[in-house]
Subunit: 428 residues, 2 copies
């Protein structure tokens, strides 16, 4: 018997039928002899409807009241889910974030978890009840106000509860089968990944893969929680995200020893490129520029500094940041232009980022060569490059991104037909 935390998103509980389906899924898990803790998001459009109501009253709602408003959404879905389980002959009890012991800081709208004390959840499990916990919300430690956690908050709630309860697995239910080697809407031959290390998943999520939130993967990795990303519409196994390298290389009997080199290809269209032109090539100027950007609360991703043109004493510095933060960053740069002494700023939103991720590239020389060769053969220009130990990312023109993703996916034999020859028998 295991303790399983199951997280269901808003699209899984968008109406009464969805709630009933989720209730059956939970009952099936109980019938297999497991204890179940459920984390649930607000129903389908609830959050948008509430935001719309608030928008009719003000453009600048107090953050505390916005959290009070939005947190009602999960209260509705969790109570309904408890009723559906009861109607199906089970026993369930629902808990708000604060009842479940989700203690956060006081940053309304994007609170961070600072303590998890799920005493009432534990008691419910002991009484053989399904405990249903509101995702996305908690209570601030000192002021005892209701907080919400922002994007990825429900996934993170589930992982945090799994960690605090020492659950065997945290299942993240979604509307896709799992994590794919590339976005199936771009690469039709993309395959579902059976297992991936949380380290790799972290790079995938940071590089634009949308199935799991970066924050949730970080939490799971830090606390050693195994994640299982799977579909709420089937009982198929999804993708296991395993926290430690040890877990990753656990090999079942009869499974080939060879591990995959590459996990997948991720892409991202949400960033823009900023080039600061004609920066005086003297120490400290780059720091000044990034200080200005930081002051505008922008998150810089990739950075490239061009080699100074001999004798000219000037250089160009390019970086990427989220498009939504572009306007503020540009304003801050223009304001600082005279003081820093650069010549101008160029801004381009029509870029795409492609990332190749795989823990195996650490020990496999030649990955970069094959990567750039594939891009070149496909006629894809490479504008910026950044790498980590287990990732290579490039920036190209937005209209070349799909071509690039397909070319790289094929070059690393990730397409489904011939994948088995590279990946051994695991079929990932």
């Amino acid at each position: 018997m295991s303790l399983i935390v199951q997280k269901f998103g808003g699209s899984s509980v968008s109406d009464a039928d969805g709630i009933k389906r989720v209730a059956r899924r939970i009952m099936d898990t109980r019938a297999q002899g497991h204890d179940v803790v459920v984390v649930v998001s607000a129903m389908g459009d609830t959050t948008d409807d509430l935001l719309d109501l608030a928008g009719q009253l003000t453009d600048d709602a107090p953050a505390r009241e916005m959290d009070m408003l939005l947190s009602s959404g999960e209260r509705i879905s969790m109570a309904l889910l408890a009723m559906a389980i009861d109607a199906a002959g089970g026993k369930a009890v629902s808990f708000t974030g604060s009842q479940a012991g989700m203690v956060t800081d006081a940053v309304h709208g994007k609170a961070r978890i600072i303590e998890v004390s799920p005493d009432r959840v534990r008691k419910a499990i002991e009484r053989q009840h399904v405990a249903i916990v509101a995702g996305f919300q908690g209570m601030s430690k000192d002021s005892h106000n209701i907080t919400t956690m922002g994007r990825g908050g429900s996934d993170t709630t589930a992982v945090a509860l799994a960690a605090a309860l020492d659950a065997d697995v945290c299942e993240i239910y979604t509307d896709v089968d799992g994590v794919y080697t590339a976005d199936p809407r771009i690469v039709s031959s993309a395959q579902k990944i059976d297992k991936i290390s949380s380290e790799e998943m972290l790079e995938m999520a940071a590089s634009g893969a949308k199935v799991l939130h970066l924050r949730c993967v970080e939490y799971a990795r830090r606390f050693g929680v195994p994640l299982h990303v799977r579909s709420s519409f089937s009982t198929n196994e999804g993708t296991w995200v395993l926290p430690s390298p040890d877990d990753k290389i656990k090999i079942q009997e009869g499974e080939p020893l060879e591990q995959p080199i590459i996990s997948g290809v991720a892409h991202d269209r949400s960033e823009a490129k900023v080039t600061v032109v004609g920066v005086p090539d003297i120490p400290g100027k780059a720091a000044e520029i990034f200080g200005v950007i930081a002051g505008a609360n922008s998150n810089i991703d990739m950075i490239v500094q061009n080699v100074s043109t001999a004798g000219r004493g000037k250089t160009d510095i390019s970086f990427t940041l989220p498009i939504v933060e572009g306007k503020d960053a540009l304003a801050a740069l223009h304001e600082a232009q005279e003081r820093i002494g650069f010549e101008g700023v160029e801004y381009n939103e029509k870029i795409g980022k492609l990332s190749l991720i795989g823990a195996g590239m650490r020990s496999n020389p030649g990955v970069s060569f094959r990567f750039f060769e594939a891009l070149s053969a496909a006629g894809v220009n490479v504008d910026m490059i950044s790498t980590s130990e287990i990732r290579i990312s490039i920036v190209t023109d937005a209209d070349k991104l799909d071509t690039a993703v397909k070319a790289v996916h094929t070059a690393f034999n990730l397409d489904s037909d011939d994948a088995a020859t590279v990946y051994g028998g695991t079929g990932r």
Copy 2:
């Protein structure tokens, strides 16, 4: 400067415009220099929508989860109202029932208040904020579950907060101007009552007047909270419900000493009449019958026992109870028929109850005479009679009820044109 508790019902906050109007009303009260605590119900149809969702899942929802579900409604309206006040330049902070210290028993769906500890509300007032409290909900004392209070719960929340905070007045905003001498839909000449004692209001509410809930009036009377029932659509004075007789006879300079004899005429169509026929006329039989009804959880209102027919040794016992409880009561009676030994049961839903209420009837002989004379002149049959010190109620045929209400209203000079001659200068 006073501390004013203002309660707004669901129809006052049914959409963004309603919420803005309520926010302005609150700001106006603040501008007059008062501290304001607001109790708000769920928006318009929210509760019905939530009940509908639950109904799609189960006919028999666990009461704890139903409370969790329904309590989300006020959370939405109170957060939106706080936003609207903020947008209008005010400062407001919203509190759930449990944050506001509304501690109840554990009877989900109809919890009773057992303790009110509004520390956070008090602090908000000290910081010159408008405190907005969710009506209708609290937290159970021992189990710390969210409870709802059932019918009249928001009014009762407002009165309970007013009592705990020692507020100067509890204003109940509604869609009518106040309490009337009779239902204006039946008696077009009915007048708004300016002042009424809580004792009389209690009889009015118990006799079918719908503006204020019996429970709220009981609480206000017990804790000496002055109520002001008024319209959320105008700034006119409404009806003051004053808790102690002393308050009632406070006389402003120049006001005539004569107090009104009669406050108003209330009516009720929600009851049915049960007659148990041929009950053996021996001691203890009536007790047995009422024991059966109590066992079916029915609330008996009026009772009449006919005089035993000489020599027959049998009598009839009639009583009224809410129509909604009729079916269970009849079933229980039929089951007990053989044991008790009565001959049969008659049941009639086509009855109406009329009540004349006035503290002045205590010291004014002749009220009964004038009452029955008016009914007789109007051709209204009287089927049952019950009285208290300040009330006379009769039961008649349902189709005679409107005629009866008009006749009595006129007989006691409650019609607006000549009311002043009887009621002195207060114009009530």
